[in-house]
Symmetry: C2
Subunit: 333 residues, 2 copies
DNA sequence: ATGAAAGCGCTAACAC
DNA sequence: GTGTTAGCGCTTTCAT
């Protein structure tokens, strides 16, 4: 209030007439000081407006109480990553950790590497410099999906994308789809790559033509309409469309309809990423449920286990995902 | 790789045959050392796998490169707060800050107060202990919406909720609503309180009965159906329903329909918080657009301005919000 | 162009 | 029960 000089522990100690050790112990209820002095110190601390310096504490105790989370750039608008992040945040809070979202591009200068006890990397791209920086930052790293680059993380949470994707294709096949197309996501990450591979393999197995169009990771929405129109004119016999990038299916929907196709009728539509709009679309659109919230939570849990020594480094955990089947893939006539 | 003892700056300095000062300067390109030694030190650092200790750096430089963000507990699933958070994160990244989500309940112990240069409090509730802790943590505080408690933050970003809400009511009135009801949110925060007050005032002005039901902040969904049914049986002449809590309108929709009401026909429906499902609902539901992304971004900007001395403490900034009018309030018959 | 020393604010040994 | 001392790993004077 009065002066601007920061109130440190020594200031409190002096004012209370004790040593800084005693002050420290008193404020942390270490059970070392007498009740009388404890109260006196506590009162003084409040009076002076003392607040502990977290950096000093972290430096001394070699722990920060926070874990870092890095998401792919340009994807901070996607429902998937938001849910993922909050799943991690919620679980971390339960384990008494806070979460720092590491999004700053600047790798040097203040804020380059921050005080965290470990980091979670969601869908780490080899091409992301921040990923490289964090991988070599000497704190434990957990990734969601495998890192396709050189270094290997201390823990991995991965989902059975390929299996679930093939299951989706099988279901489409069962209800009649013979010429399905994939609007693919970039193969730069584990997820995008494995979907593309699965698709080609499935097409080979079933003898279907591998109708595939790749969109860049993130920022896909703008290019979807042209891509879909292009696909339709190239392949008029198309009878199913599976969209990988988050949000692409919602963009494709009106385009397909404008082209005279009936969704759930002569054209089946599905998405590889579920989201709220898909549930409420007309017709509701079938999607793979990636359970982002659980994925984030599981990453936090695994990182915690590694930090606490419960899980050995190199642990890999599987996350169960599913399919939310909706009307867009249930031909009604 | 080889040993587990942490690689510190002195270790690098020793290995490179220089003093720690020189090592430090070399690694930060301070332009003090000769190119030859700079290269040698850099090479040594990489070879040893050196990573700077962020806590030590923060302690010394009295800055952390991160800002804190606290959201109301139990609301980490809401689209509004997720968008808010990511709006803040994105803007902070632009200003070269990272964001720490402070959600851990534990106020003492490790992770109690973390290394942040300032904090953003979204819709701070007087009843939230974390809010109190942060308010007295000696770092600058920016709130989104006014804090109804004692302490006053260093900056405030607020929206014209009352005005926009009354505008919404006026529009409903224009298209014929004479007996609108409000499914209110708790009055514990600034937002909930101001909506309730506005509603009563508007009712007084227009001579409408103040049909109001209050739901607790967060966790509202479970109680909405009963509340709506109760309202309908109490007030059969109800001709419009405005839902304040995020998500309540989507829950109310089927309940109203089951009760035989036609949305957009004999009953108008609107929400005080927009979200993706509302846009895609049948019929699409009118909602106040709180622009959460911009709110978060503006908070980050204001906090940055306060930290850098550009904005004086006590600054208050307004955020423009709007109304997304949809079919649920456009009577078509 | 480089080193030596001081010290950021705190907690943990080790006295008494 | 309390005080003294020694660092945590770094950046920054101030010398040379």
């Amino acid at each position: 209030m009065s002066t601007d000089e920061p109130v440190t522990l020594v200031a409190v100690a002096r004012a209370a007439g004790v040593s800084k050790t005693t002050a420290s112990d008193a404020l942390r209820n270490s059970g070392r000081v007498s009740e009388a002095t404890r109260a006196r110190v506590a009162e003084t601390a409040i009076r002076l407006g003392y607040a502990p310096n977290p950096s000093a504490r972290s430096l001394r105790m070699a722990t920060t109480g926070a874990i870092g989370l890095h998401l792919p750039d340009n994807l901070t608008r996607s429902e998937y990553y938001m849910s993922f992040a909050f799943g991690a945040v919620e679980q971390a809070a339960r384990l008494n950790y806070n979460v720092t979202l590491i999004m700053s591009r600047q790798l040097s200068g203040p804020g380059a590497f921050l005080p965290v006890d470990g980091v979670i990397l969601a869908d780490p791209l080899e091409t992301d410099p921040v990923v490289h920086g964090l991988m070599s930052s000497r704190v434990p790293v957990v990734t969601c999906e495998r890192f396709t680059g050189q270094a290997s993380p201390d823990g991995v949470v991965r989902s059975e994308h390929a299996a679930m994707f093939e299951e989706l294709l099988d279901r489409l096949h069962t209800v009649g789809a013979r010429r399905p197309a994939l609007l693919a996501s970039s193969a730069a990450g584990d997820w995008g790559a494995s979907l593309q591979a699965s698709f080609r393999q499935w097409c080979r197995r079933t003898g279907a033509p591998a109708l595939l169009r790749e969109l860049p990771f993130g920022t896909a929405a703008d290019e979807v309409p042209d891509c879909v129109r292009d696909l339709l004119s190239d392949q008029p016999e198309l009878d199913a469309l599976v969209c990988a990038p988050d949000g692409a299916a919602m963009v494709a929907l009106p385009v397909l309809r404008d082209a005279g196709r009936r969704i759930g009728g002569d054209l089946l539509l599905a998405s590889c990423v579920d989201s709220a709009p898909l549930r409420h679309a007309d017709p509701p659109i079938t999607a793979i449920d990636l359970r982002p919230r659980e994925a984030g939570a599981e990453c936090a849990r695994l990182l915690f286990d590694i930090l606490s020594g419960t899980a050995p480094k190199g642990t890999e955990r599987a996350l169960r995902i599913g399919i939310n089947e909706r009307r867009s893939t249930r031909p009604s006539g």
